[in-house]
Chain length 124, copies 2
DNA sequence: GAAGATTACATGCGTCCGCATCTTATGCAA
DNA sequence: TTGCATAAGATGCGGACGCATGTAATCTTC
């Protein structure tokens, strides 16, 4: 069990570091930015901030800022929610969709590299 | 494989957050501080900063600061290395050993809680 | 043994994060 | 309706990180 934890720590550290480099250098995205785009693309619809909050492992405040960065980069837009004017919809833009499409293979390659280099993990 | 990554992300986020709370509130330690103490106790000898760097998933600069914090809390001491005067030995103090001993059950409990609540993980 | 390359650790700096709190909007009770 | 509790999202603040660089010691090559 402690071995599982060490496995998680090691893989997380290595993968995060590699993703940060690869996504940052090649596509100008951080891991959190990519993750948010990826979730929206995966659902293929606009999402409330709160919905995103359940899917990405970020605090609400961190997510709010990630979305702000993405909006500044014109990769998403914040749309008002008419049924609940407190809420906002996060909509991916065509540029955002394109950026995600070009970054996805990079992410997959990095993860494949990292998760196939070592044998396996015994279940917890 | 992408599932493995999501598993790592989820467990890492949940465990780190829980450890930060539990270790911080009950023992005044951050996860990194605990990890460094744990590595030293595990080896049961003083370690060079560089040796620690290979074991904890931190940059050299971050580790340097963690050790500085631990030293300020009197949980470790930095001892000069006579054979290589660039080097630093990180020695755990009796207080550091005691703090680690009291924090270890907390860490184990948190990890057990998190890694037994969900079934398992298929090997990558 | 002197000069430059390299290594070990420290530190300035910018970024991202979480917590606490603020603002605005909704819901519910009197 | 009015008033208060609650919810969604934004923001001030402090902390921890990584990168790049600085400082000091060691190694290498001549």
């Amino acid at each position: 069990m402690i071995d599982t934890w060490h496995y998680v720590l090691a893989k997380h550290a290595k993968a995060m570091c590699a993703l940060e480099r690869a996504l940052g250098e090649r596509h100008g995205l951080g891991p959190s930015e990519f993750e948010v785009l990826d979730r929206i693309v995966h659902h293929d619809r606009k999402l409330r901030l709160q919905e995103l909050c359940d899917e990405v492992h970020l605090s609400q405040s961190a997510l709010s800022r990630v979305v702000a960065r993405l909006e500044k980069a014109a990769l998403v837009s914040r749309d008002a929610c008419s049924s609940d004017r407190r809420g906002i919809f996060v909509c991916i833009t065509p540029q955002g969709r394109a950026r995600h499409a070009e970054a996805l293979p990079t992410q997959r390659a990095v993860l494949k590299e990292i998760f196939t280099e070592t044998p396996a993990l015994t279940a917890p």
